[in-house]
Amino acid sequence: MDYALIPEGVKRCSFGKFVLWISAVSLLLLWGAAGALLCWIKGLNQTNMNDYFGFGIWITLDLAVIALGAGAFFTGFLRYIIGIDELKNIVNFAVIIGFICYSSALAILGLDVGQPLRGWFIFWHTNIHSMLAEVAFCITCYFCVLCIEYLPLLLENRQLKKIPSLNLFGHHLHRIVAVFAATGTFLSFFHQGSLGGMYGVLYARPFAFRDGFFIWPWTFFLFILSAIAAGPSFTILITWITQKITRKKLVKKNVIALLAKISGWLLLGYLFFKIADTIYWATVTAPARGFTFMDFYRNQPYGLWLFILEIGICGVIPAIILLTRRGRENNSWLILACFLNCTGVVINRFVFTVQTLALPVLPFDRFVTYFPSWQEWASSLAVIAYGIIVISLSYRYLPVFPQEKELNPA
């Protein structure tokens, strides 16, 4: 039925099946929309956040998707600026994933503020010293860039391509995409960093606070590194899932392997700096504020296990796998490594958002727990549904994977 829209030379499932699939996922999206609507209409009392947990699942999710979405800018950077040509086979998909991640992050941010209708005050009345202002500016600008990067692909659609003006516009945009990729890299660099900076500057929260370079605490750089280390892994992971669902080969193994190798090296670099930072923090920064390293892990659910899980199991292990040729080439190991790598960055963001707030600073204060309400879960899960829908539509109607035809001869 929608044959005319489907790219030439590729095979897609029947329209009915597709509609069924989209409808199923849309239910989740609707549930999320209901939760979000309640939060907008009735206010944030619909969440289980409180004055101790001013940030909850949403901010963790925001930070996580932005970190995972880093595959877009970094692949773009490698492809267009560094010029690694193989990556052209996956850069489209990386851009789509980035687009999904950033648009959902913005939506969740719009949900997470008490006065969404005044959200634009962050731009109008900017406090330039606030890391959050930097984040807001960079994310918004970068989202525009992502849209521009996504646009040429969108215009590649079989029907849209027939419109000469649009086709030409897409073509010209694509020609100067390096400019956008460079801008995107610049913006991404700063907002990934400022997200880390947001926590690193909290000098009255000894668990998060870090010394740093100029105005940027070390977390600024660590967040950039961890994001670009995890981003490509996430792209691989999503590509793998897409291949599993479509039961097709979409990207050649060497491309994946290259991305995995890059991810591995970056992860190694990140781990080196992260461990160095942790040692400095545990021995110098925190003790100066009256805390020992173990103070942060004792007597509360977020114990040392979380630290080991983040750095060891989800850091060192995937790094080893990704850096060994055999690990990279064995599909199961590779996927496990990518999964662990992504989990690691999510845990890292969780630790910085939730654990930072959960840990009492006043000696006579107590540890409190927080569990998100259904409205928070629903709107968070809706992000996944939204991602699935965007990927499904893009995959069905756009020539996302240049190698698809070659790998799946009719």
């Binding site: 006065q115 209708l117 005044r118 634009w120 005050f121």
Partner: protein
């Protein structure tokens, strides 16, 4: 122009782009944000002329001067009056929340007549004329039947013109049954009557100038006495942080705030304070460090003495020496003998030692013997009627009213014995025994009560054993409440004739309990009555007029305001201008103590007791001593003891706790609607309970579901529960929060006085 599909799209794209480029979206965005800044449902308080009105607070007997800040005719905030001698600018938590009572949803907006079942909360609005004529017809009917004495009245306090007006009304009407709500005032009165020979007086402590204070379970910073004054004094004791001025020892079962602020906390087995006092007396006498001059010159019954018939009587000294050795007292109280010796010595050696009695906030009466034992300590150190000591304060005579006119019915019915037994042969000491009221009514021992007026009191909530109280009330055919708020008793009434609140009415405020300098303050209307309410004094005057005859003749005032003015006489103008009158000379001038007992001395041995008609078995019964008051229940079934504790953050009297106060409660007191009971961690472990766990507490009077808070500051084996929560009336901000302690409490009568001398009840913990 032909509009095809492409044209259509083009048109809207163009229009959209045009709009985006126009200022409209920006203007809208801006407007929307301005709207969020002025949401119509977020109130904007109107500005206006700011004025300040001085008045007095009557929410508790503390008698503080307050200043109400007003904007136009709205009262905005209550602050402590800077120049008022009682509180000197300070204010307590309840006083500050007074506007929530004035404007709160619990206010009764007009006279109401019950339409549904009692307590169902179904009312019919009626006019004042209807309300008063309804009450007067009931009262006339009783008089017609010659049973005027079956009308009774429960008051919060009998002091001041309003209290006196009720007494006068009932005297003229012909009923002896004006019953005051119990408080330490009852026990103070009897203690003073027995030891000082003073009638209707009160004990006042010169806390400011004492330098060694032993407080026997008195909640000095919990709202005892005049709360602001006592808390200020507590700071005075602390003085400059670099030096200490006075030493305070708190004797109490639980680590209360007072105990926490004291220099020493002596945890004592509940209800054994008298034993400790006697033990201290033993130490002081043994060491010979009592004030010999005072004891020899001004005291009677210290040594053994011989009466006219030649019979030798035991004196206080022998009793203390023979029966209250530190070791024995230690066994009773659980305080070590060495501590008792040390404390006794330190106390007697201080320049201005002071022993303070009156449990908690003073909202229960307590044992007369206990008060005597503690008061005897003050006599031992000669610290009576002098600087830094104890003063006997006579109630200043504010009502020189013309004699009440009584007709035959008033004379005949007025002579009937009081329903609560106070002043009868059985209870000659007490003036009011509201604690006996439920039992008398429920057992039908006395005559029935047919009409009950309730003013400034909420007995269904505040009296122990709520079920029995409610049952007694259910046996009274006609109950009238004068309450301003829909409290438990008002909710249970047949007719409500709502009084103005204290911020809307005139009222004289007599000297607060416990203050050595007489201060008379004036409460005045600072705002117009918010609803269709009337001053209870005016209602009584109108009622008397409606009843006619000698009753009307006894109430010849036009209205309450005239009455107040007449009563104050030449003091009125000064009082009205200044808001208070203070007698600063009092306490300074009295150099030599004077006593009005038959011996003319301070009586360790209360000779009056042997003259009252109470059967005295031996000398000990006339002397201060420790007489165990066992809480209800047997120790095998109920191994634990449940005691109440009072907090200044909870109004536990007739007034319901305003929302602001409830907001300040810790989450170890109340969580959602669950009340927390404190238990020592060791006891909790013994019974297998942990922090925050739900438990059922069962006492002989009933069971309540609570949660447990493990607290190291409480003696093992004891459960402590806050008073003042668990209302079943008022509004949604007060009602249903926690549990009312009185539902599981029973009173225990002290035989000699008839007063409720209990301090707890036996209990057990059960799982839920």
């Amino acid at each position: 122009m032909k509009l095809d599909r492409r044209g259509f799209i083009k048109f809207f794209t163009g229009a959209g782009a045009g709009l985006m480029l126009s200022p409209l979206p920006w203007k809208l965005t801006d407007d929307i944000s301005i709207w969020t800044q002025n949401w119509p449902w977020t109130p904007v308080p109107p500005e206006g002329k700011v004025t300040y009105a001085h008045t007095a607070c009557t929410l508790c007997p503390g008698g503080c001067g307050i200043t109400v800040r007003k904007v136009e005719d709205r009262a905005i905030k209550i602050e402590g009056r800077e120049d008022h001698p009682v509180n000197r600018g300070g204010i307590c938590i309840l006083g500050l929340a007074g506007l929530q009572l004035l404007y709160g949803p619990s206010r009764i907006k007009s006279p109401l007549k019950r339409t549904g079942n009692r307590g169902s909360g179904r009312w019919e609005k009626i006019s004042w004329e209807e309300g008063i004529s309804e009450l007067s017809s009931k009262l006339s009917e009783l008089r017609r039947n010659g049973e005027a004495h079956t009308a009774a009245c429960i008051l919060g306090s009998d002091r001041g013109t309003t209290g006196h007006l009720f007494s006068r009304f009932f005297t003229a009407y012909g009923s002896p049954n004006v019953i005051r709500t119990p408080s330490i005032q009852d026990t103070y009165e009897i203690t003073l009557a027995l030891m000082h020979g003073v009638e209707g007086g009160t004990i006042a402590y010169d806390l400011e100038r004492a330098d060694f204070i032993i407080s026997f379970s008195s909640g000095l910073v919990e709202g005892w006495g005049s709360p602001v004054r006592t808390i200020m004094t507590n700071s005075l004791w602390k003085g400059d942080p670099s030096k200490q001025r006075a030493r305070v020892v708190q004797v109490e079962t639980r680590l209360s705030n007072t105990a926490a602020k004291a220099d020493e906390w002596l945890p004592i087995r509940p209800g054994t304070d008298a034993a400790l006092a006697m033990g201290l007396a033993h130490v002081i006498i043994t060491k010979g460090i009592y004030d010999k001059r005072f004891v020899n010159k001004f005291c009677f019954g210290f040594e053994d003495w011989t009466d006219k018939s030649g019979k030798t009587h035991m004196g206080f000294k022998r009793l203390a020496l023979e029966q209250y050795s530190p070791q024995r007292v230690s066994d009773i109280t659980g305080i070590s003998a060495s501590k008792i010796v040390a404390l006794g010595q330190a106390f007697a050696k201080a320049t201005h030692p002071l022993a303070v009695c009156g449990r908690g906030k003073g909202s229960t009466a307590g044992s007369v013997y206990e008060f005597m034992a503690i008061h005897a300590l003050n006599a031992l150190v000669g610290n009576i009627n002098r600087r830094g000591g104890v003063f006997q304060l006579r109630e200043s005579d504010i009502t020189q009213w013309p004699t009440v006119k009584k007709d035959a019915i008033a004379v005949r019915c007025g002579k009937m014995p009081r329903i609560d037994g106070a002043g009868t042969d059985q209870y000659p000491l007490a003036r009011h025994l509201l604690n006996r009221f439920p039992e008398v009514i429920n057992t039908g021992k006395g005559y029935p009560i047919k009409v009950l007026l309730v003013h400034d009191a909420n007995p269904i909530y505040t009296m122990p054993d709520s079920k029995a109280v409610e049952e007694a009330f259910s046996r009274i055919p006609f109950i009238v409440s004068f309450s301003s708020y829909m409290d438990e008793t008002a909710k249970y009434a047949d007719l409500i004739l709502p009084n103005h609140t204290y911020l809307e009415r005139w009222e004289d405020v007599p000297t607060p309990i416990g203050i050595p300098t007489p201060v008379l303050s004036l409460a005045r209307p600072v705002v117009k009555p918010q609803f269709d309410t009337r001053h209870v004094g005016d209602v009584l005057i109108t009622l008397a007029r409606t009843l006619g005859g000698t009753i009307a003749e006894s109430f010849k005032w036009d209205d309450y305001e005239t009455l107040l003015k007449d009563t104050m006489g030449n003091r009125w103008n000064a009082l009205k201008d200044k808001g208070f009158l203070e007698d600063r000379t009092y306490g300074e001038a009295s150099s030599a103590p004077t006593f009005s007992t038959s011996s003319g001395k301070f009586e360790f041995y209360a000779t009056r007791l042997s003259r009252t008609g109470i059967k005295i078995k031996n000398d000990i019964e006339c002397l201060p001593h420790y007489e165990p008051i066992s809480p209800m229940g047997d120790s095998s079934t109920y191994p634990l003891i449940l005691i109440p504790y009072e907090s200044i953050r909870i109004a536990d009297g007739a007034i319901g706790n305003p929302p602001f106060l409830t907001k300040t409660l810790e989450d170890t007191v109340l969580r959602k609607d669950d009340l927390f009971v404190e238990i020592n961690p060791r006891t909790a472990m013994k019974y297998g309970f942990s922090e925050l766990q739900y438990a059922m507490i069962r006492t002989p009077r009933g069971k309540i579901k609570v949660r447990l808070h493990l607290y190291d500051g409480i003696m093992p084996g004891i459960l402590a529960m806050p008073k003042g929560l668990g209302h079943s009336a008022y509004d949604r901000f007060i009602k249903g929060k926690g549990v009312n302690f009185n539902t599981v409490m029973a009173s225990a009568e002290e035989p000699v006085s008839g007063l409720d001398a209990t301090w707890g009840i036996r209990a057990k913990l059960e799982r839920v």
